[in-house]
């Protein structure tokens, strides 16, 4: 059974333009981060990314979801996180939606190691990583309704 699935993979890779969107709904718990990473990893692999790009995408999505759990839901484990992955042309986009508190992405300062050292904590690292590791990071929020962040990366052909 496992073998037959594997043999189908190359066909999937060639047809990535026609791949359907994939969706994952999870509760806002840190224990779900590993399921989120696996979900994103599989989709990025099927799309044809190499290992190093897959690792960057996973980390960016982990950071986005960790921020949602911490800041949008303030560790309330009953919040919803909806992750939808779209494949279009050579672009891989991950949309992450939550229904928690809206935060102002522009209010997050750039990472400052000296300040972290003095304050014994880090803040804004996740956002910095997301912007560094992905091609695009877009926020779209309707306060009181939902927040959306869309992370995207283009597949570079060798």
């Amino acid at each position: 059974m496992r073998q037959s699935i594997n043999t189908m993979k190359p066909r999937k890779l060639i047809k990535y333009n026609m791949m359907e969107a994939r969706k994952l709904n999870v509760k806002s718990k840190t224990e779900n981060l590993s399921e989120i990473r696996d979900f994103v990893s599989n989709a990025a692999k099927d799309f044809g990314f190499n290992q190093s790009a897959i690792e960057n995408i996973i980390l960016a999505v982990d950071e986005a979801c960790t921020n949602i759990i911490k800041h949008a839901y303030k560790y309330n484990a009953e919040g919803e996180i909806v992750i939808t992955i779209h494949f279009k042309d050579s672009k891989f986009s991950i949309e992450i939606k939550d229904y928690g508190n809206t935060f102002e992405p522009d209010s997050v300062p750039a990472p400052d190691l000296k300040k972290y050292y003095e304050q014994h904590r880090v803040g804004g690292l996740g956002m910095y990583l997301m912007k560094t590791l992905m091609d695009e990071v877009q926020y779209d929020s309707v306060p009181g309704k939902y927040n959306k962040v869309r992370l995207s990366k283009k597949l570079m052909h060798n």
Partner: protein, 120 residues
Amino acid sequence: MAEFSAATKQSDEVSIIYLKGFLDAHTAPQLEAEFTNLIEKNKYYIVVNFKDLIYISSAGLGVFMAYIEKVRENNGDIKLVEMSEKVFNIFDLLGFPLLYEIYKSQDEAINKYNETKKIN
């Protein structure tokens, strides 16, 4: 659920924390507990071995920032060793090598502590 473990072993006065698996917002409290435990016992010569760490997110990096000043105030340090290239790249991206001593081998870090003690 992500697999992670942090186990501490003593090598004379140096405490070595061995990390394994995935260090993220879910598993970071386990590492915090190791640091808290060492500090309670006044053990400030700390080496963290990353050999078996597969993954780290900013929540994991934050743990090192939480304890470093306290440890250094007590003439100790947190030295990081045996990182994979992938994990090092994340530390590097955020400028952590400016703040932490990172060594290829565990012995190098332990020797560094021994040299410092001789000088003192």
